[in-house]
Amino acid sequence: MFDQLMEALNMVLQWQNFFWALFGVTFGIIMGAIPGLSDNMAIVLLLPFTYYLGPIPGIAMLMGLSKGANFGGSIPAILFNIPGTPQAMITTFDGYPLAKSGKSGKALKTALFASVTADTASDLVLIFLAAPVASVALRIGPPEYSMILLFSLVIISLAASGSPCRGLIATCLGLLLSTVGCDPEMGTPRFNFGFIELAEGIGIMPMAIGLLAFSEVLLQAESWYRDRRSGKKLEEVRLSTRGTDADRLTPAEMKQCLPTIARSTLIGSFVGIVPGIGTTVGAYLSYIWSKKKSKHPEMFGKGALEGIAASEAGNNAVNGPNLVPLVTLGIPGNLAAALILGGFMIKGLIPGPQFMESNAPLLYALFIVLLISNLYTFVVGGAFIRCARKLVSIPKPVLFSVVPMFCLIGSYVNNSSLFDIWLMLVFGVLGYALTKLRISLPTMIVAFFLGSLLEHKMRQSLLISRGDWTVFLDRHIACAFLLLTVAIILLYIVRHGFGQKKQA
């Protein structure tokens, strides 16, 4: 163990690793901070390049990228209400209101502090608890998976927005959109309206960019135009003054956020164990739970520090456990993990059950690199916050023309397909209309994320049981989540009735 650790340190302590991790974090923050360009895109762009580096520097860069982008996405979410990456969309709930009240510095620093703390904690989960986490992950088969997804969907549609009716509409819309593409069982195309581009479903990037970034630009441009015509003074995000309390996170506030971060790390890590659910759901569930636990839930959505902390901690905590199946079984849990696997394979190293035994030092080196990237995110992110504050002074007309441009680029580059640009524009307009109808876009996107997984896993369960629905009751974990879901619905009805009442 000690020898292997020393060997790992020997591999890591080289200037290339530090340089490429730094490069990755910096590039990741920039890509994350530009709405329309995301972490996955940054990874794909730089991937060919990593093959020319050794395995450790290549992975250092990839991990730096994904960690950097994860934080970077919260910068425009807080400053402009436009999430830079889909996983930052929950951060807009409280980040933007706080920034509008003149505390942009405080909001950004809370996001950074929560991101890095939760990310480090989740990496420690990966390093020390990989084996137990993997054994839990293997127990989650299709029936368990379905019920966990159902549980998440119900929580999100009931608790997320003020009105459960609108929440359900948003969820149903998302589920409906997720049925476009291919039948998961038969492989036959369905609801694709004759477009071969829709054969694999609606692209998540064009959709998220359209709904989150492009529609927000439309909304803000409209209100800016209206305000200008009526001669009203514009509601602007004001710069927080340097050195004041509005610009920093006081130790008291840090302490106040810690329980929230701990809780969110727990939720995020659990979400990370179940592959495919993703960072956005981690953030959303953490946010909802923190709101429930908070002593002043009425502050959520109006600039609560815990809201920002919950969202950012929740999405970053997903990343560590997401690597567990890769490390233990050689099965990648997300895109970054798939690319790490590829990086190893090109060098003739095959992750799999025997990887841990035969390449232990390399694995330790990977872990050390993860922690280094976290440190970099903290340092570089801090530096970026200083510059990013000035972004607020960009004139609105300039911002409204630059962001759509990046939206176009961002939706194009993933598949180099013009179709995706049209898709993004359609979703931009749809997002505008839905926001006007006060239907929660994040809820809809999360339902879309989970919808195809839920269908897929439910049909798998029913195929295994040959159409016997008791399969969801026979399995302990599945049954527990089903009962929990029912209990939450009943509790909700008892507390709020069926009518559409304002939630506390």
């Binding site: 794909v44 991937l47 060919p48 093959y51 992950a137 293997l138 127990r139 989650i140 088969g141 299709p142 291919c182 998961p184 069982e185 492989g187 036959t188 195309p189 071969i196 581009e197 054969a199 694999e200 692209g203 592959p275 495919g276 199946p325 079984l329 050689g330 099965i331 990648p332 895109l335 798939a338 690319l339 696997l341 590829g342 394979m345 090109i346 060098k347 003739g348 095959i350 992750p351 799999g352 059950p353 025997q354 598949n415 180099s416 397909s417 897929h456 798998q460 195929l463 295994i464 040959r466």
Partner: protein, 322 residues
């Protein structure tokens, strides 16, 4: 070899024979390999493994562009429509596109509309099960299915073709199996190792195959044509058991129709040389892939056969279901 020599000879003659307006030897600028899948998959990785030696052999940088989505077809057809000058080439998708075109669009490709360079890997599908199951061999598995009709579930690591091949065998032999489709080999491997399904069909080179190499999973059946690296005595569905269909994916390089013969020959030669690189051989074998050069003529007949088989398979299942 004769063909190669003659094409080299023709190439040389062309070079010197038409001296005044002679073309410089191909390639004189970087070449682009269009991979019709997202980066990180097995197909993409094999191309990237080959890119290094190809660069050395061709003497020009090799650029890899990923055009994923649409089950590999849009990226593949993009190359077929591009300029036939040898600078844009498709890999490794042609084999996969045949079956996705069949199942998604109900159409077939005509191989006269493209210039084949050659194949380089045959990727077999295998059936795996956990060692704690009561069946250790294919025969025992069949007996088990017969004793437990409708209770046995077999997963598929996202190969529609392999599932249909297994389904055709089950229909023919009266086996009552629940087939469960997965979105990727990784997802299916996790459920197989976790014991949620009774057996699973996956490609060689996946995580589950690596587990089988270590003895943590049993290989019951080979759905393909070549031997499974490192795991001996696996019966082959087509050759050993006489079933009319098989599931084996071929990776290869394809140029647009109308590419000059000397340029095609340069590519063929480069691919052949790259595959002879001992480092490539070693890395691919480690991953469970068997690299082997397949000549254009041989590749053509393989692809034709695969296409005909798919048409037959679809018909076979239609009639058997009635």
């Amino acid at each position: 070899m004769n063909k190669l020599l003659s094409s080299l000879l023709v190439g040389t003659l062309l070079l010197f024979g038409t001296a005044p307006d002679a073309q410089a030897a191909f390639p004189e600028k970087p070449v682009t390999i269009v991979v019709s899948f997202a980066p990180g998959g097995t197909g993409d990785l094999t191309v990237r493994m080959l890119a290094n030696p190809l660069e050395k052999i061709l003497g020009q940088p090799v650029v890899i562009v990923n055009k994923g989505g649409g089950a590999g077809m849009p990226g593949f057809e993009y190359v077929l429509k591009s300029k036939p000058d040898g600078y844009t080439i498709s890999a490794p998708g042609v084999g996969a596109c045949i079956s996705s075109a069949m199942f998604l669009r109900n159409k077939t490709y005509n191989f006269d509309d493209m210039t084949l360079v050659g194949g380089y890997i045959l990727l077999d599908r295998i059936l795996l099960a956990r060692p704690d199951k009561p069946y250790k061999t294919w025969q025992e598995f069949i007996d088990y299915v017969k004793a437990h009709p409708g209770k046995v579930s077999v997963g598929s690591g996202a190969s529609q073709e392999a599932t249909e091949v297994l389904r055709s065998f089950a229909l023919k032999n009266g086996l009552d199996i629940n087939f469960v489709m997965y979105k990727s080999g990784g997802e299916a491997s996790a459920d197989l190792i976790g014991g949620h399904i009774d057996a699973c069909e996956l490609g060689v080179g996946t995580a589950a195959y690596q587990a089988a190499r270590k003895g943590e999973l049993n290989v019951l059946l080979n759905l393909g044509l070549s031997d499974v690296p490192d795991i001996p005595n696996v019966p082959k569905l087509h050759t050993d058991l006489g079933h009319p269909f098989y599931a084996s994916l071929s990776y290869g390089f394809v140029l647009p129709k109308g590419t000059p013969e000397d340029i095609r020959a340069t590519w063929e030669n480069a691919l052949k040389q790259a595959l002879a690189d001992p480092q490539i051989q070693q890395n691919m074998l480690k991953a469970g892939l068997t690299p082997k050069f397949i000549s254009p003529a041989e590749y053509r007949s393989m692809l034709d056969e695969a296409t005909q088989n798919l048409v037959k398979l679809v018909e076979y299942i239609k009639t058997a279901k009635k």
